[in-house]
């Protein structure tokens, strides 16, 4: 069976900095990683392939240097990789991103029919969780989000049974292949790539597709022009004007500090005492 996994190269978000004067994001020198959520999708895809046979193709849309992430995925054991890179893709929001990815997936599908497309639950930069559902709708794939486990796949009958995280419980869902799965985090552990895979990855040829190569006919659906959302400004959160009022601690015992704190809180909010009486009585 042919499985496609979409992965995104993202900045290691802990290290993002804002320019203190211009308030713009400083990306220079920020290390990039495969979106951590996508590793759960990749591992699940590799397990499915190991069990059922077939191949896993990883795909990313991004700048030319995003091929690093693809190579890493090949090192974990993926079989083939496609990089979508083109200045027409620049500035894509989720609608334009899902358009580009879906168009390219459709092209792969025509060459080698796809049974499952995997994406992560969300990214750590854009963090919208919208691209998976977008691809599913565009390709008419059955959409399974927040999947926590795959119970069974029947290639003959073209069906799949999964467990899906829902509000207040787990849904057990059966649907027809092909489908799109967004994988929940924490549901598996990424394998260590074998030496063989590492060597293969280092030498592997990565298919690099422009918008035209991917089969895009209408360029106005790509990038900034194909994006209905417009980011007007990016800014750092305002610091609050007043800092915390500190309770006097010098030369006081913890018990004194506690009494003083309670007096302060009750004085600041006269309803708090009554609220606490009610809540503590109920618990």
């Amino acid at each position: 069976m042919h499985i496609v996994v979409c992965i995104k190269q993202v900045p290691d978000s802990a290290q993002i900095r804002v320019h203190p004067v211009t308030n713009t994001i400083m990306r220079q020198g920020v290390p990039t990683i495969i979106n951590p959520y996508d590793l759960f999708a990749l591992e699940e895809a590799l397990r499915l392939r190991d069990k059922m046979g077939g191949k896993v193709t990883v795909m990313t849309m991004g700048p030319p240097m995003a091929d690093e992430s693809l190579r890493k995925a090949l090192g974990f054991g993926a079989d083939a990789a496609v990089l979508l890179t083109d200045r027409f893709f620049a500035g894509s929001d989720t609608l334009a991103t899902s358009f580009a990815l879906a168009t390219a997936i459709d092209k792969l599908h025509k060459e080698d029919p796809i049974s499952v497309v995997f994406t992560g639950k969300q990214t750590i930069d854009g963090d919208t969780a919208q691209v998976g559902p977008g691809i599913a709708q565009r390709l008419g794939l059955n959409q399974l989000t927040y999947v926590s486990g795959i119970r069974e796949v029947d290639v003959q009958a073209k069906t799949i049974v999964v467990e899906r995280r829902a509000e207040g419980g787990t849904q057990v869902l059966k649907t027809a292949l092909p489908c799109l799965i967004t994988m929940l985090e924490g549901t598996n552990t990424m394998r260590r790539g074998s030496m063989d895979d590492m060597f293969r990855a280092a030498r592997a040829a990565i298919a690099t597709w422009s918008a035209k190569d991917a089969g895009v006919e209408d360029m106005t659906k790509c990038g900034l022009r194909g994006s209905p959302t417009v980011v007007k400004k990016v800014f750092a959160p305002q610091p609050r004007k007043d800092k915390a009022k500190l309770v006097e601690t010098a030369g006081k015992t913890p018990a004194d500090v506690a009494q003083a704190t309670i007096d302060t809180l009750f004085a600041a909010n006269t309803k708090l005492e009554g609220d606490l009486l009610k809540l503590s009585a109920a618990s």
Partner: protein, 349 residues
């Protein structure tokens, strides 16, 4: 670069809120959104509509009447047994057809598992913009929706517009917006709408539903009092000081992300950008430095009390009250003092 709104979008009007109902219960985020939607509709001088989808019956009727109480002027209702449990296909179809027929200018959904699943597919069928996980919604001077959301793991905020498309869609996480006041005796117009689908059209079947064990159910997001601990507690055993105080106050407890990653407390107790957003009356943070990812989850608290040994800890920049001291000594002292005070007051009354 702003273009004139295309003609075919000019008759898109009103603010809609999708009322999320699962197994007969409406998710509280829907009422929070009606509260926010009311403000947007008033600012625009238009009506606020609730979109209620579910199987016909008492639960659906209650969702409609509750929508009046929380501020809706009208309700579009798709009542169909096919909508008993959530599945993407019939909900996308129903809502897509409803939008194309009745044309809202703004459509808000909760950023819950259901809301994100539905919003992502609906924005694609409608080919419109969708801003995710907004923390602030406003109407700007030319009447467009300005949707502000955290990004890059919460380190930055950005404001996003959907200028030339309608509806303008946004999702909002539970507890980010305040719960509106319930007003009894309000009423509105019901506009029924059909779901033109039969079960045979729906590919995905629900084989089973396994409810979460009640013992695991954590309602941290809705607790009125929350006490939380961070790495400053030094180890899992000291979390007892946190839970003791939470218990005396009749509240719930949580922690910063590293305390979860270290396995000190369960994952559903994480507070912050990638955990729960809370809006308690009182939040007590002990041994938490106050990283931005933590801050965005607690900013809705009425009152924040921070306990930290470091007078320069970031948390003192947004907490209302602070104690510079050792949490291992202050927490038990607070527990004892609160207990005595509450006992005293109870006796006196």
């Amino acid at each position: 670069a702003k273009k004139e709104l295309p003609d075919h979008f000019k008759d898109y009007k009103n603010v809609w809120v999708f009322i999320e109902m699962e197994r007969g219960k409406v998710h509280t985020v829907s009422w929070e959104l009606l509260g926010e939607g009311r403000k947007l509709a008033d600012k625009l001088g238009v009506e606020l509509a609730a979109v209620v989808m579910g199987p016909p019956g008492a639960d659906l009727d209650r969702a409609i009447s509750d929508s009046w109480a929380y501020g809706a002027d009208l309700a579009y209702v798709i009542a169909d047994p096919l909508l008993t449990d959530y599945r993407n296909q019939p909900f996308t179809k129903g809502l897509n057809d409803l939008v194309n027929t009745h044309k809202p200018e703004i459509l808000l959904l909760g950023a819950s598992t259901l809301g994100r699943d539905l919003a992502g597919s609906l924005a694609t069928t409608l080919k419109t913009g969708l801003t995710a996980d907004c923390t602030e919604l406003a109407i700007d001077s030319d009447n467009s929706l300005a949707a502000t959301r955290p990004t890059f793991g919460g380190t930055l905020l950005c404001t996003i517009y959907t200028l030339n498309f309608r509806p303008q869609m946004a999702t909002v996480r539970p507890r980010v917006m305040a719960m509106p006041e319930r007003v009894e005796g309000r009423s509105g117009r019901v506009i029924p709408f059909p779901l033109t689908m039969v079960e045979e059209n729906i590919v995905t079947k629900i084989l089973d539903f396994l409810p979460d064990l009640t013992s695991n159910k954590v309602n941290l997001a809705y607790a009125d009092i929350v006490v939380a601990g961070g790495m400053g507690l030094g180890g899992p055993a000291n979390f007892k000081l946190v839970t003791d105080l939470a218990q005396v106050l009749g509240g719930d407890f949580g922690g910063s992300r590293p305390t979860i990653q270290k396995g000190w407390i369960p994952a559903e107790r994480q507070i912050g950008q990638t955990g729960k957003t809370i809006r308690p009356k009182l939040y007590i943070a002990a041994g938490i430095s106050g990283a931005i990812q933590h801050r965005v989850g607690v900013e809705g608290a009425d009152m924040i009390l921070a306990i930290n040994t470091d007078p320069n800890a970031t948390i003192f920049e947004f907490a209302h009250y602070g104690i510079v001291g050792d949490a291992l000594q202050i927490l038990p002292a607070l527990t004892k003092a609160f207990q005595e005070r509450l006992t005293q007051v109870r006796k006196a009354s």
